[in-house]
Point group: C2
Chain length 453, copies 2
């Protein structure tokens, strides 16, 4: 539902904030900030440097604090909650959706969780505990327990009167769920059908029974694929056995999963962790990035050891040292292209055992075609540059070899890594460039050693 | 709404399809295929090699063809429509949502569009033409015209009876829109409120007026940010002037925008075009990828020309040739980390003129810290490897210089490219590695020339 924003001063540029801060007019700033929707306040905080983040957080009216907290990244949630005791944390969390409470709880230090749960009301605690029993990355961890259920033998008129007794219906409700006395899920009653049907017929007559209820153990990525493919707005979650209705998943939470999955591929391939934040502090950012730089240093040294094998040849023909990075670089780019396509295909559930062979042969053919074309051009450039046809043949051959190796590595690495239970998005990029560097240097300098000795 | 899938045979593995094809049992295959939801049929087709794609497309029951077409990628839509005449195309399209028809029309050859429009019913043509007047990448191009509108002076009872006269309500309807006689947008009436309020009060009393209606010219990326931030399911689209209600945007179309934007960053940074498809044909894939390989070849040659400047030094100290790729590689990885974070921050609307200076100083500090640490370690490795403290100092200094250059380039390149109206996701990666290669080789070999002469 579009959120209230009436009469609030427009705050388009973060520089406005800076100006206000500079002028010392904190009262003005507090007014502007608290007139924004909670999600917009969270966006401002996430777009601000760490010191300013603390300042802005301190300015939020208590009535909005919980909602803003729910919209922030895990890192910031933890940051802002770390000085609060369990009672304060519990009262902050209680106004949020069950799945959000569970998510935030899981970011807290382990010894805090029971204390915070204890400080909650019994009803809320039971709800949160029911979500906490499921892994964060499953349908159970993603669901909310705020379902509206009806029995199949009611008439629509009774359902309408029952709804009118509610002050409000949970947000993003497009279906009511039909259950029997034992809470077994029977089907859905779309609000649209409820509104277009005669009040005298029963729920049973118009409920839809052939729906895919989501088992609580389904991975969230799979849930997101189903929502995306079928344009769902909400879907029921049932127990793996017995089909008891446990809760529902709504599109707003699924959008977050889609965003996280997309970020995961993007970040992983660039050697970044999922926790990376644009405006994270130096102290948090530097160690996270250092790990991948270290892994890359290690693999770069391995590639240099390959070059070292051919020290004598380079000593004889210095042109080799000048040209060798070109061979490695072309392999790296071609390999990243293949790797990215395959990793995305896997994330969308397109790449499977049945079609990987076709995919490999396609990538091999593309690598061969582009390898031959650019090898020809590079050969001409090299022969003109160094006035030496021999080096032209050598670099052309090495480039074709490396682009073929890049195609094979790019297509098979993600599949192999997944089979070994290693995350392809995370390890794929480093492994790939190691292969294209090693193959590039080895084929180029190896061929040169043969032809120049 | 969860889609019917009852009694359909499970078809989990694409290899099942292969087996069925191999056994020649096309009747069985046709049965399985047509028992899937249209979105699932589209998914199967997109996960199949080109030849199989044609075969599967030909097997779809006519009653599902249009819906499957609507779920396919642009490339495949064009592929399957190219043999059809304008009347066939028009009748295929007419059952789809207005925005989908407009999207598909825009992929057709220019001379086809008027013919297809002419073959449509007058009502459909007017609708499609109203969407076609807006750019594909704006709110107007994203909207559907299937709104249900009510007047503010009606009682809810009248609204309920009015709805009951509909056979069905458009999918993903969570709000009715309130307009005056001139179709000026006044506010929204959430179905949830309609259902929980007394039938005797008027729409005016419970409608929500302080909502952000989306102007038709708003870019789709901005629309997606609003939906994502405010958890909207649908939102009204109004004319830029006069606030006339034009249509509405629904979350399912927004999810597609989010997916496209995420793919754009991922693909761009890997040197792939947005049209790249996992199971695209070799003929389509090879030329698209060749462009980026060519650009990379050009920049790699530039980097080699830098090495060429120091030919004499390398000739004297071969160890330099062995170690120089390490300096370039570390700069490339550090630069990609920064570039990726900044490009994503820009895509989410976090990075702005007001905070780019802070971002730059953070990235500079991270680059300095990690540069110093890994330079120290690399220095120790180099001095042990070549038994030469001089080369250790040189590589350590060059690595620090290159990681600082990488931080500056990674942070400023996207902002500079955007200011020049060049897409940072597309050009950023190539530009960055050019910089880190050139700076890496120049600083390492330059320092070596100073110290070994």
């Amino acid at each position: 539902m579009p959120v209230a924003n009436a009469g609030a001063p427009e705050l388009n540029e973060l520089s406005d904030l800076d100006q206000l801060l500079g002028s010392g007019s904190t009262r003005n700033l507090r007014y502007i900030l608290n007139n924004l929707a909670p999600a917009d306040i969270a966006h401002r905080i996430e777009s601000a440097p760490p010191k300013l983040q603390q300042l802005l957080w301190g300015m939020i009216d208590p009535e909005f604090t919980a909602e803003v907290l729910g919209e922030l990244s895990e890192d910031l949630q933890l940051e802002f909650l770390k000085d609060k005791d369990s009672a304060e944390t519990a009262s902050l969390l209680e106004s949020l959706d069950t799945d959000d409470i569970a998510d935030i709880l899981q970011t807290l230090p382990d010894q805090m969780i029971p204390a915070v749960l204890k400080a909650m009301s019994v009803q809320d605690r039971l709800r949160v505990e029911s979500v906490l029993t499921y892994d964060e990355d499953t349908a159970g961890g993603l669901m909310n327990t705020d379902t509206i259920t009806v029995r199949p033998d009611l008439t629509l008129d009774v359902v309408l009167r029952y709804l009118r007794r509610h002050d409000e219906i949970p947000e993003v409700t497009d279906n009511l769920f039909v259950v029997n006395r034992k809470d077994t899920f029977l089907g859905i009653l779309p609000l649209a059908k409820l509104l277009t049907s005669s009040p005298n017929i029963t729920v049973r007559e118009i409920m839809i029974t052939d729906v895919d209820a989501i088992p609580a153990s389904m991975p969230d990525t799979k849930v997101a694929q189903l929502f995306e493919r079928h344009d769902w707005v909400s879907a029921p979650v049932v127990s793996d056995k017995g089909k008891n209705l446990l809760g529902r998943i709504t599109i707003d939470d699924v959008v977050d999963v889609i965003r996280e999955d997309a970020d995961h591929s993007l970040f992983g391939l660039a050697g970044l962790s999922d926790e990376e934040e644009t405006f994270g502090s130096v102290r948090k950012t530097a160690p996270r990035r250092a790990i991948w730089l270290g892994v890359n240093l290690f693999t770069a040294i391995m590639a240099s050891m390959v070059i070292n094998l051919f020290e004598a040849t380079i000593d004889k023909v210095v042109a080799l040292a000048i040209l060798m990075p070109i061979v490695a670089s072309m392999g790296g780019v071609a390999g990243s292209q293949t790797l990215t396509v395959v990793i995305r295909g896997m994330a969308l559930g397109q790449v499977q055992a049945g079609n990987i062979r076709w995919l490999l042969s396609k990538e091999f053919a593309v690598g061969a075609l582009n390898g031959l074309m650019w090898a020809l051009i590079m050969g001409i450039v090299a022969s003109m540059w160094f006035n030496d046809p021999k080096i032209a043949y050598i670099i052309a051959a090495a480039m074709v070899i490396n682009l073929l190796a890049a195609a094979v590595a790019g297509a098979l690495l993600p599949v192999t890594l997944r089979a070994m239970n290693i995350d392809p998005a995370l390890a794929g990029g480093v492994a790939l460039t190691t292969i294209t560097d090693v193959v590039g240097f080895f084929s180029f300098l190896g061929l040169a050693t043969l032809f120049y000795s």
